[in-house]
């Protein structure tokens, strides 16, 4: 591995200063993607900036407005937090799904987002839950919807000098439910061949609104707005959920690679969308 310097700033200002310092700087949170990328030469760094000591990136804040998740909070703290688990069970589950136990001791949802892999497990769920990213940079902070954050495989929309501070998820609405479902050939330690994040808001057995997003079937995590729009105002019956699944099948843009043929991935989109919606609906009904 090529030599790089290491810095562990304690404030946002220090961090943005380091990013603006010239040369290639890469942010280190859990390191479970970055260290491998540096080792294999996929990324080169002059300096690695460890952001775990910056308070804003390391906090979990839950209040009536929703959840603010510091970008470097490791997965185990998310599912280890009773309040988060109660308010956002699907988020806790997805944090418990990324990598294995050891990876979850380090990896963060923010890192999952910044790494911008099409297969990232957390992103479709965040999109489905209407999560937003808070980004800080030389010119101040801005907010971006999660579905706009990833722009290409491995590429996010951060401008030079910017960093992801936190992710905020709206407070769960009454009668809502969310679920992420992925398909992997093994039962753990695997990359999604396809994944579906689903969120629904129910009212008297009818879906008031819904959001669906897909993993691993497009160059970026894919927000399938049409599926949610189709479901809005319809009954949550098998036919309608299946219909939403068929829309996911059609709107997915998968490729054939070692993880699965394109046609197979389309099939998974249909099946997983239906199943994820079923689970989200069940959760929504449970909270009614």
């Amino acid at each position: 591995m090529k030599w790089f310097d290491y810095a562990a700033p304690k404030t946002m200002a220090e961090a943005t200063g380091l990013l603006a310092g010239g040369g290639s700087a890469h942010l280190l949170a859990g390191g479970t993607d970055l260290i491998v990328q540096l080792r294999t030469g996929r990324k080169l760094a002059d300096v690695v900036v460890d952001v775990k000591k910056i308070p804003e990136l390391n906090e979990i804040r839950l209040n009536s407005g929703g959840l603010t998740l510091g970008a470097s909070v490791p997965c185990y703290r998310i599912y280890g937090d009773k309040d988060v688990r109660r308010a956002y069970p699907a988020l806790a589950e997805v944090a418990n799904l990324i990598g294995g136990t050891q990876i979850q001791g380090r990896a963060s949802i923010g890192g999952n987002l910044c790494n911008a892999a099409p297969s990232a497990d957390a992103i479709p769920l965040l999109i489905a839950m209407s999560a937003r990213c808070r980004v800080a940079g030389p010119g101040g902070t801005r907010e971006i919807a999660v579905e706009d954050f990833c722009v290409a495989p491995g590429k996010n929309c951060l401008a030079p000098g910017e960093l992801l501070v936190s992710i905020s998820i709206p407070a769960p609405k009454p009668g809502s439910g969310a679920h992420y479902l992925r398909f992997i050939p093994r039962n753990e330690m695997d990359i999604a061949v396809a994944g579906v994040g689903a969120w629904v808001e129910m009212s008297n057995g009818t879906i008031r609104s819904a959001r669906v997003a897909l993993a691993s079937v497009a160059p970026t995590p894919l927000f399938v707005r049409e599926a949610g729009e189709f479901l809005a105002g319809r009954e949550a019956n098998e036919d309608n959920l299946r219909q939403a699944g068929e829309m996911a099948r059609v709107l997915a843009k998968p490729i054939t690679d070692m993880r699965g043929p394109a046609e197979y991935r389309r099939q998974l989109c249909a099946v997983l969308t239906r199943r994820a919606l079923e689970a989200a609906v069940a959760q929504a009904k449970g909270t009614n």
């Binding site: 093994r186 699965g260 197979y264």
Partner: protein, 747 residues
Amino acid sequence: MSTQYSVIGTRPVRHDGADKVTGRAIYGADFQMAGLLHGVILRSPHAHARILSIDTSKAKAYPGVQAVVTADDFPEAPDKMVDLGEGETPLSHIRGNVLAKGKALYRGHAVAAVAAASLHDAEEAVKLIDVQYEVLPCALTAPDAMKDGAPILHESMRTKELGQKTDRVSNVAEHFRHVLGDIGAGFAEAEAVVEREFNTSTVHQGYIEPHAATALWNNDGRVLVWCSTQGSFVVRDATACVLDIPVSQVKVTPTEIGGGFGGKIPVYLEPVAAILSKQTGRPVKIVMTRRDVFEGTGPTPGCYMKVKIGARKDGTITAAQAYLAFEAGAYPGAMVGPAGMTVFAAYDIPNVTIDGYDVVVNKPSTAAYRAPGAPNAAFATETLIDELAEKLGMDPIDFRLKNAAKEGTRRADGPKFRKIGCVEVLQAMKAHPHYSAPLGGPNRGRGVAIGFWFNVGLQSSCTIAVNTDGHVNLVEGSTDIGGTRTSIAMQAAEVLGIPVEQVQPVVEDTDAVGYTAVTGGSRTTFATGWAAYEAAQDVVRQMKERAAKLWAIEPAAVQAERGVFSSNGHSITFKDLATKLATTGGPVVGRATVNPRGVGGSFAGCIADVEVDPETGKTTVLRFTSVQDAGRAIHPSYVEGQMQGGSVQGIGWALNEEYWMNPQGTMVNSSLLDYRMPTALDLPMIETKIVEVPNPGHPFGVRGVGEANIVPPLAGLANAIYHAIGVRMNRLPMNPPAILQALWDKK
């Protein structure tokens, strides 16, 4: 049996256990030495390319670099045939695989190496070696490599046809044929015939410890090697061959070994570390990365097979035919030989023809992998047997029992079986509660299969020295991959009549112990255990002489039983007698060497329950039982461990493992993330049933149990999947997209 033996059949804690649970055991990469340099190997990015030039000047100039070597740094010794214990191989193939000369034959083929004080510096420097390649078209599967006009890997190789050398230049190294009876007449007699084509993917042994070796070209001219290997003498002999020096100039000290399964028999790193050390005067350690392991070390062959079996309505198999084309990888030796010997070995079939093709392709040179060749072959045979049983309306175990091989059955490749346990294994499967348990749900199915593997003998040496406290030191040369120190020591303890805790087994270097062949071929507990048995007998004989001396009687008048020597009212324990060695003639050291041949192999079977998700094609293994004939289980826990481990490797091979190659011959999934070996969460408990049909060719009746257990699961799962969802899978891996595709094709 437990009444007959006091040590054999018990489950003592292994002697090396404490070191292995506390992190003290030293494995290949753990070896440290003052002044150590780190070596890194440059590997070919192309699957098939002529090496036009190698410019190492920039790498040599990189800060910290001490040496850069290529194949040109090996001595220019003329080619010859060498026997490293597994048959004859041209030296040029062994040497060419260690560092490519002239051509790179697979992606990952070692081309050059760098030594530097820092591993990171060596890694950076190796990227600066400038190799000019002329990229050639590649051949990646046996059928493709056999086509007219296929790219030729070895221009100088001539096809051997039915035992005869020919002038034909092709990628087929050898075509052999085994014939028994009259295949035409056999099929004419058959009332039900099944025939299918099968394909299996390249898979890797998957040991968790990457290859690691340290070499020091010492100032006295000796080459000292510390490495993780299945056979220290093979490393010694191969390293000496490649370096063109006498074997006694090389001393190999085996470290602990983190898994091998056949893949740590070939040498890859040792000769390279040795020449780097020669050039620098310092010890050089080379440790492979996981990607190196996948791209540069022996996987097991992928293959194409076409198999046909016919039977009469009463269930008698009348004929069987197999066409087996196996990928050897870059150099001949595809393990199609053992595939040919085992493909129908479980059955007594009068009319058989087997054609085998050893085909070179642009993939890593294949190495042994647990019963090499047999799982592929049994995948075909046992799937067809299941299909035939269904056609005939017979229970699949009854159908197998009706045709099972027994003592006296002749295999198509010649030998007749001595006492074997095929029938007993099948009976144990039938009687097992698993076989009659309800499946309990839709999309579930149960499959069975059986398989055979040999029990090679080969050379082993052992000495046993008696200490004055009645304990003994047992010196052996078999590297211990799975508890064999203990299974060997138990056999000595049984003979000596002392607790196994009083036997201290130690695996020694090639200077300190007599020649001992590899830990492989299910031979270690069998053959080195036999050597320990004989060495212990030698100790007992000498101890009888000492007792006789004490009592002034003839040695022949002394009896030894369970550690007590007695004669006519005299009696002394082994322990007490051990205190008197100095006064009765000096130390006692027993010794033995063995070289058994042609001994009984092992049969294994499995019962597998699966559930298949018809919407995603994913298979879940619900329950799995492994049955195997151990002859005599020395340490039942470690016998079970072999059965469980082999079963799970078979499950991985069946369901998900494969080298995913792109058309350019690059393995795309060369990581433990994407090469999907089973995790703990993918499996149920693996139930075991040990069958004991003693091997008449071993003093305790031992049959090697390391390998046969991986043979049945491939077909066992294919059959279970068929019974779950009604599709016959004839291609491995049977991964979710493949199963879903098969379901779509059926519609």
